[in-house]
Every structure is written in C-alpha cells, then in structure tokens.
Amino acid sequence: MNMADFFSMGGRGFYVWSSFGAVALALVIEMMLVKKRGSAAAQLKKTVAETQQ
C-alpha cells in the first residue's frame, strides 16, 4: 500500500480519518482540561496552607 492509497482509504478517507482525528482531538482536550484542574487544585492547597500560617 503506498501513501496515497493509505490516506484515501479506498475513497472513504473522510470517514476513517475523521473518526480517528475526532478521538485524538477529544483526548488531547481532555488531557489539557484535567491538567488544568490538577494545577488549580494544587494552587488551592497552597493558598489555604499560606493563609493558615
């Protein structure tokens, strides 16, 4: 299979690559959001620790 055949997926490339692409994009966004939530929570812990001193 050459590169062009690989990307065209027998003329169904749109459906195949949209599926894989949508999942990849969604997982990247979820990872970013969850990382942000983690840092915000760590910041909250820091703020509370500082104010209680």
Partner: protein, 260 residues
C-alpha cells in the same frame, strides 16, 4: 494487604500519583502498536473495504464508555453501603471520561454508519440505548453539581448511577434481543468472528483506551481529593477574614452564618 487502607483519600492520593506515569506510558505503547496493527497490518475487509478500520477506534471507545459506567455503579454501591469517601470521589472522576468515550463511540459510529448504511443516525436499539447511556452520564454530572450539600449530592448521584446501570446489559444484548441495523458482536467471551490480526488490533486499541482512561481518571481524582479537602477550608478562611474585616461592627462569625 489491607485494601481498606487504599480506600482512604489520604493514602490513595500518593499511590495514584505514582501510578499515573505508568498508565500513561502503557497507553502510548498500546496506542502505537494498536494503530500499527489496525491501520497498516490488518488487511482490507472483504465486504466493507477500508472503511471498516473505524472498528479499531469505535469498539474500544464503546467498551470504555460502557465499562466505566459499571465501575461507577460498583463505586456507587460502595459509597452507599460502606460509606467510603473515596468511592464518591472516584465516581465524580470517572463520569466525564465515561461520557466522553460514549460520545466518541456515537460519533465514530455515525461516521461508520454513513458510508455503510447510508445514514449517520437511526433510532436502532443499540444506538438509542447508547445515547441513553450518554444522558445518564450527563444527568449524573448535572445532579451532583446541582445539589449544594456534597454528602446529599453524592448519595443522589450514586442512586442515579446504580438505577441507570440496568441500561448497560440492554446496550450489550440489544443486537441479540432486537432486530437491529447495528451488526452483532464480532468478539465475545466464547470467541471471535474476525480474522486474528483484526481482533488483536481491536484488543490492543482497547487496552490503549483503558490505560488512557485510568491515567486521566487518576489525575482527576487527585484534583477532586484536594478540591474537597481545601475548598471548605478556603471558604472558611474567606469567611473568617470577612468577619475580621467587620470587627468594627462587632459581628462574629456565627452571627454572619445566621446561627445566632
């Protein structure tokens, strides 16, 4: 080993932190092998041609969507009976990932349906019950955020998830119980109807999705543990600072809270 020890958020927090990089690394390794098997090694399907390759992402996302819900229901039972605090936190951490995978299963299914069935969507039993699963996830998330008292919110959420779990076997057996447009199971406990390399690709991709889901849920549950522990404290700090600021009016903290 005392499993109860790890049911405490304080001991689970560092353990989860240690496990995250391992699950993340495994997700990458399985993902690369799975994509290689599914997109390059596996041959073209005799009936569907190349478009069948959506199976390598569609089935794993659907499995994660269903099983995460069952795991949530199990934690729900633990939350209501054993009253372990971590259980409710785990439920809260699992829900967004479960909802996301269910939505992705529906989306990739639609993208597969169009070229093979001629339609993105049909009210077929498998698809409708999967859509209900998505609504159950969204309902749970909305419910726990709508109730201010965290303990009551956790209880109500656990109850909703447990009752809703009846939907999972309906999804799974829908292709047998009803005459659906959706095809039957390709892989089951008793064996596989697919070529070996196709089944292997699908299973490795499923493992990748699992490792990813566990890693991301562990990151989220760590955030939730901190949020629950410190949000109350932060509010109290804010309150006492507010009370100090009003010292001139001789108003105490208890008066501010209306418990005089």
């Amino acid at each position: 080993m005392n499993l109860y020890k790890y049911a405490s958020p304080a001991t689970f927090y560092p353990l989860a932190g240690k496990l995250i990089p391992w699950f993340a690394a495994l997700a990458v390794v399985f993902g690369l092998i799975g994509l290689y098997l599914g997109l390059i090694v596996a041959p073209e399907d005799a009936q569907q041609g190349q478009v069948y390759r959506i199976i390598f992402i569609h089935v794993p996302t659907a499995w994660v969507g269903m099983v995460v819900y069952l795991v949530m229901a199990a934690y729900g039972v633990a939350a209501l009976t054993l009253k372990t605090r971590l259980s409710s936190m785990m439920m809260e951490a699992l829900a967004p990932t479960g909802a996301l995978f269910t939505a992705l299963a529906l989306l990739t299914g639609a993208l597969w349906g169009k070229p093979t069935w001629g339609t993105y969507w049909i009210w077929d039993a498998r698809m409708t019950s999967t859509l209900i699963l998505l609504f159950l996830y969204v309902g749970y998330i909305a419910l726990i955020h709508a109730i201010e008292d965290k303990k009551r919110a956790d209880k109500a959420g656990a109850l909703l998830v447990i009752v809703g779990s009846v939907n999972v076997p309906i999804i799974y057996f829908s292709v047998r119980w009803w005459n659906t447009l959706h095809q039957g199971a390709s892989v089951s406990v008793t064996g596989s109807k697919m070529a070996a390399v196709m089944a292997q690709g699908m299973l490795v991709m499923a493992l990748a999705c699992w490792m990813y889901a566990i890693a991301v849920v562990l990151v989220r549950v760590r955030a939730i543990i901190l949020e629950r522990q410190y949000k109350g404290a932060n509010d109290m700090v804010g309150l006492s600072m507010g009370a100090r600021g009003m010292a001139g009016t001789e108003m105490t903290g208890t008066e501010m809270m209306g418990t005089k």
